[in-house]
Amino acid sequence: MSEKINKIVRIDKLKKSYNNNIVVNGISFDVNRGMCFGLLGPNGAGKTTTLRLILGLSPADSGALSVFDLEMPAHARQVRQRIGVVPQADNLDPDFTVVENLFIYGSYFQITRSVLNKRIGELLEFAGLQDRADTKIGALSGGMQRRLTIARALVNDPELIVLDEPTTGLDPQARHMIWGRLRKLMQQGKTLLLTTHYMEEAERLCDELIVMEQGKIIAQGSPKQLINKYVESEVVEVRSGGEQAMEYIKNMNGYRVEKAGDTHYFYSNNARELVLQFEKIKDIVFLHRPANLEDVFLKLTGRELVD
């Protein structure tokens, strides 16, 4: 596009409720051009609803929202011409084959046949589905459908790509492949807006992210900033023997403990001593590692707080 605006998405005090239940509660954030912006948060936090508001697929109760400097949802049609969408649940057209799905979807953007012909070859390659071109959707595996859905979102060569849990259901190879492709898109100057439950994905891809809970933003920053701000540098993750470990540190200071499922997390800026001690206790199975985004997530949205 000719005019180079820098803020691709601008959201100010956006609110949305369903039957008196506030789902998006006055959130504000901006997404800059060329960045990958992540939305994290537990199930039901309001991530998908936020994306639907941005796409003009859902009217907000209050607040201001613009995409490409165009006010939404008033300019929904114009704006969606320039966006690619990967929905949380695949909605490929079951009446068509892989290639036909790309053609039909492209026709919704009024893209000419000759442009589509050229682009669809690339997209099949992107999705790794060259030899499945004429397969009906129902005969594809879940992961293949997901890859096709991601490829489909690129059919209009979008400036902004909105991805709602893009790699859910993909095997590790496919996930790495998609991450590589998404990074390439960012190098081409595309802007990515993504939700995910994979902290590794957020950490690898996102330049900036927000953590949502119950419709509110509870933290914002780059993955590194969040890790530095919210958690200690080291973690000892005890998968079994947690009770003994708890017993052991009862009279020690400087450890923060969190429990998720049956795993205990011991946080510290220096876990050396703890590791040495745990190694002596046979029943304790543990992993010593640097803190990551998952720890931030657990701390911010953790439900089960020990100590």
Partner: protein, 258 residues
């Protein structure tokens, strides 16, 4: 509620084309049905009943019946497509959801669907016209004028069908409309016998039904008689189409844009 008047744009044709592409696959079986059914009706009822009733309303019974069946088939086809198929794409298949992530809007989708319903009516109605002509029930080339009328009828019946779809909770829901609306029209609106043979109080009500007006257009065109009140009949059919489309757009917006 979003009451904005719908805009009909080029995108509507894109939706029409999508459906046409799916249909092309099933061309064989659907044409067998389109031609086979009227053959049965016209041969069975036309010749069977025709042996007792030679003429009705100053025309051979076969002609009377064939023109009624053309209209009834346009109604059935558009109603069926506007309910069962549109519902399938809207809810279980989530095809509209995928379309709405693109510049396509509800206005375009329903306009395209409506044109597709009318196209299917056109196909089935024309098949019957061809069969009727083969059986000698059509009086001349002027009968080709029913083709645009069939398309209009398709739009007319697609409108109310899509309104039903916009608040349907499942396929069973359509049984009400089929049993309470479509079947009574099929029996009472003059497909098999003239409306004038019914009690007068009933006739007032029957004049409100779109199938009655459709038949008042189709029958004289097929039999080569003078068409009366053309303007009124076309206006009634158009009104059902336009009001139905507008209501369906508002209701589907309310259902999908939440």
């Amino acid at each position: 509620m979003d009451l904005r008047l719908p805009l009909v744009r080029k995108s509507a044709f894109t939706i029409w084309r999508r459906n046409a592409l799916v249909w092309r696959r099933l061309l064989g079986p659907s044409l067998v049905i389109n031609f086979g059914e009227p053959f049965l009706y016209l041969l069975g009822l036309g010749f069977g009943l025709g042996a007792f009733i030679e003429t009705m309303d100053d025309m051979p019974y076969l002609t009377f019946l064939a023109s009624g069946i053309i209209a009834a088939s346009a109604m059935n086809t558009a109603s069926f497509e506007g309910m069962y198929s549109v519902y399938t794409r809207m809810i279980p298949q989530r095809t509209y959801e995928s379309m709405m992530a693109t510049p396509i809007e509800v206005d375009d989708i329903l306009a395209g669907e409506m044109m597709w319903c009318a196209t299917k009516s056109l196909i089935s109605g024309s098949a019957i016209l061809a069969v009727a002509a083969l059986l000698g029930a059509v009086s001349g080339w002027q009968a080709l004028w029913v083709i645009p009328v069939i398309f209009l009828m398709g739009l007319c019946f697609a409108g109310p069908a899509m309104v039903m779809t916009s608040f349907a909770t499942g396929y069973d829901f359509f049984n009400y409309y089929m049993t309470l609306v479509v079947t009574p029209m099929f029996i009472l609106s003059g497909v098999f016998f003239p409306v004038t043979s019914l009690p007068e109080t009933a006739q007032v009500f029957i004049q409100l039904l779109p199938l009655t007006h459709a038949i008042d257009l189709v029958r004289p065109i097929v039999s080569g008689q003078q068409v009366n009140n053309i303007g009124l009949h076309i206006a009634v059919l158009l009104a059902y189409a336009v009001v139905g489309y507008y209501l369906a757009v508002i209701l589907v917006r309310r259902r999908l844009i939440i």
